[in-house]
């Protein structure tokens, strides 16, 4: 009983995000002209999974007290790369996917090296590296275009047995294959320790440098998975700075809504997934409620503010309330 209560208290942020998401999605489905159908859910999934992956990528550096302003750019860069490499026969395309994942991880590695070895602030580092990645993306894909292996793309954006969107399964697979092992490893604990108090972690013999490096590499990898799925969604690549910027900012919002502390040391990538789902559902609500187009940003902002306020539920969990006012 006590364990259950502790588990609930520990996961209040992600659970609150999940509850809000379920509520909002229920409203969306209730008002959707087509109701609950696999097509409607698949459409929502294909859009939401992209942001969910970028938000997961953002969570990892945030846990260590850092931030990654280049996740959106790596997402766009790998989209451009995938529109060149994930083509041809099935084996060629699968090899292309592997190459894109490696490229994304390499981009993350560059960030990690600069942050760890160069000892620069993560925000400035990733802003600068993001500009470089954006340049590479433009060089790869100067104007929108390209292609993708259509069997893979149709599969990744389709439904399995006409019921379950494949995108959701892929997302679950990524959580199980990347996030869970990381969180349970020594480096996962180290990442949280760094976010809480880096000096204390270092003098306690926690492998802080390796953990930070791994965090940025995995962040690049997750963003690359998102980039490949974007390619599957659009059958093309586009080096769009506005898309990159929008995903970076939305990923930070998703992380906060998911109950992760921007100060580091507390949170989970699963919460960010629900945070991303909430953000996407806000957009979807615009579809079912006929709001004036010029009022839509106002509506989105108001709902976002509400969601972030609920994310601040951790206020009630702090041992010493004075800490909040510091």
């Amino acid at each position: 009983m006590k364990t259950l209560r502790l588990t609930l208290a520990h996961n209040a942020g992600p659970l609150a995000a999940l509850a809000i998401f379920i509520l909002m999605f229920a409203i969306y489905i209730a008002f959707h002209p087509a109701g609950l159908s696999s097509a409607v859910v698949t459409t929502a999934t294909n859009k939401a999974v992209l942001l969910a992956l970028v938000a997961m990528a953002q969570t990892l550096p945030v846990l260590t007290g850092g931030i990654d302003m280049s996740v959106g750019v790596i997402f766009v860069l790998t989209n451009c790369l995938a529109s060149r490499l994930v083509v041809g026969t099935m084996p060629e395309a699968l090899l292309g996917i592997l190459a894109v994942l490696v490229a994304g991880s390499l981009a993350g590695l560059v960030n990690g090296l600069i942050v760890v070895a160069g000892r620069l602030q993560p925000m400035i580092t990733t802003l600068a590296s993001g500009a470089v990645f954006a340049g590479i993306a433009l060089w790869i894909r100067p104007s929108p275009g390209g292609d993708v292996q259509s069997d893979i793309a149709d599969f990744a954006t389709g439904t399995l047995f006409d019921t379950i969107p494949v995108g959701l399964l892929l997302l679950a697979a990524v959580v199980l294959a990347v996030w869970v092992p990381f969180r349970r490893s020594e480096y996962g604990r180290a990442a949280l320790a760094i976010g809480s108090n880096e000096n204390a972690a270092y003098v306690s013999g926690v492998p802080t440098r390796q953990a930070k490096m791994l965090v940025y590499v995995l962040s690049g990898l997750l963003a690359a998975i998102g980039g490949i799925l974007l390619t599957c969604n659009t059958y093309s690549g586009e080096a769009s700075a506005t898309v990159a910027g929008a995903y970076t900012l939305n990923s930070i919002a998703a992380v906060v809504i998911g109950g992760t502390s921007l100060a580091g040391g507390w949170g989970t990538a699963i919460g960010s997934v629900f945070g991303a789902f909430i953000l996407r559902t806000i957009e979807d609500l615009l579809f079912v409620f006929d709001l004036p187009p010029l009022w839509q940003p106002l509506f989105q902002g108001a709902v976002l503010l509400l969601a972030i306020s609920v994310g601040a539920i951790r206020v009630f969990r702090v041992k010493n309330r004075l800490e909040i006012f510091q």
Partner: protein
């Protein structure tokens, strides 16, 4: 290691079963001409023609816009609603819905998918990215939904595109200047747009071709106005200072800036071919008696109405070209009339090229601005 697992997991899931994707026919490719060949002008001789299965009205039509946030897009949405509200159009439409999704291409694709899922009959798109709609076109054709792109069209021959013939526009402006210079010689000032865009390139080609074919001894002086009134006014003033005398101006935009620069520098009024800003037509009407001979032509935000008309025609089972050359909305001296083709009480930035007579489409400013910003 984890990477390897992820890839092998992916391969495993894929081998479990690719869901059968439906490849329904989509529109029938037929031979021309179109049902209404004057309005639905084919892009070129190779353009193919579509015939969708005839559906009984009234229809559910959607507009999936991407970026919103400049006057052009806002006026476009207002015009779309005004068109849907015109009595003969309203009779054919059961529901007209507008969604703007911003710059995120995935969101726009999802919006179009949502309209397809909700059983809309036709979807009008101002595409955020010309290359990204291949999967959506496939899904729309599978469900028999008519997809029409305008303004930012699609790289495809599987959906209907309503294109602006930018080169023809460049020709039209310049032909007006050439026709109004009886001595057939002198310097023509060409005010170009944002460099590097296909629009600027195509319009420029039209200008050069017209001057070449006009014979005579014309010389073209190019300046870059970036479709912006302030920039245009400055570069025209500079050009007048350097070259002293021009016989005519062909401008891609910021047209009012040309008139102001001429007036400020004391240059006599000369024939001008320009865009469809309200401010330009105001000046043209005011100074018409002083030798200012204007032609104002373009394809403003009202082109959305042509796209909607095309969708309605396709739904009714009529033959339409896959790629349509949009008619140009044009007024020239001495036909400028207040409250009719320009509005002295409206903002200078309002686009007044809202009439496409060959398509039977016309709007007053009141009709457009009077639309509530509420979606219906």
């Amino acid at each position: 290691m984890q990477l390897k697992y992820a890839v092998s997991a992916l391969a495993l899931v894929m081998s479990l079963g690719l869901s059968a994707s439906a490849f329904a026919a989509g529109p029938k490719v037929v031979s021309g001409p179109a049902a209404d060949p004057v309005c639905f002008k084919p892009w070129n001789a190779d353009t193919k023609y579509f015939q969708f299965p005839k559906k009984d009205g009234p229809y559910r039509i959607a507009l999936a816009n991407g970026f919103v946030g400049n006057t052009w897009r806002i006026q476009m949405i207002q015009t779309a609603k005004a068109y849907a509200a015109q009595p003969d159009v309203a009779a054919q439409i059961k529901e007209f819905k507008v969604v703007s999704t911003g710059e995120d291409i995935a969101a726009q694709i999802a919006a179009v998918d949502n309209f397809i899922n909700s059983g809309f009959d036709a979807i009008i798109v101002n595409a955020q990215n010309p290359a990204a709609f291949k999967p959506v076109i496939k899904r729309a054709n599978a469900k028999g939904v008519v997809l029409v792109a305008f303004d930012n069209t699609l790289d495809t021959d599987e959906a209907i595109n309503v294109n602006v013939d930018q080169k023809a526009l460049g020709k039209l402006w310049t032909q007006w200047v050439v026709d109004n210079v009886p001595e057939k010689s002198g310097k023509i000032l060409e005010v170009r747009g944002v460099s590097g865009t296909s629009v600027d390139r195509d319009r420029h080609e039209g200008v050069l071709e017209t001057v070449k074919n006009a014979g005579g001894k014309f010389e073209v002086v190019e300046v870059q106005g970036n479709w912006d009134e302030g920039t245009t006014q400055k570069v025209v003033a500079d050009a007048v200072a350097v070259h002293k005398s021009f016989v005519g101006v062909s401008t891609q935009g910021g047209s009012a800036g040309v008139v102001r620069a001429l007036a400020d520098s004391g240059h006599p009024y000369i024939p001008i071919g320009g865009e469809t800003e309200n401010g330009f037509r105001k000046l043209c009407a005011t100074h018409a008696g002083e030798g200012l001979k204007c032609l104002s032509a373009g394809t403003g935000p009202a082109q959305v109405a042509v796209a909607m008309k095309t969708a309605l025609a396709a739904l009714a089972g009529n033959v339409v070209p896959q790629s349509i050359a949009l008619p140009l909305s044009e007024v020239h001296d001495p036909d400028f009339k207040d409250k009719e083709n320009f509005y002295s009480d409206q903002s200078d930035n309002f686009f007044v090229g809202n009439s496409f007579p060959t398509c039977g489409i016309n709007f007053s400013a009141q009709e457009i601005m009077g639309q509530t910003k509420q979606d219906q």
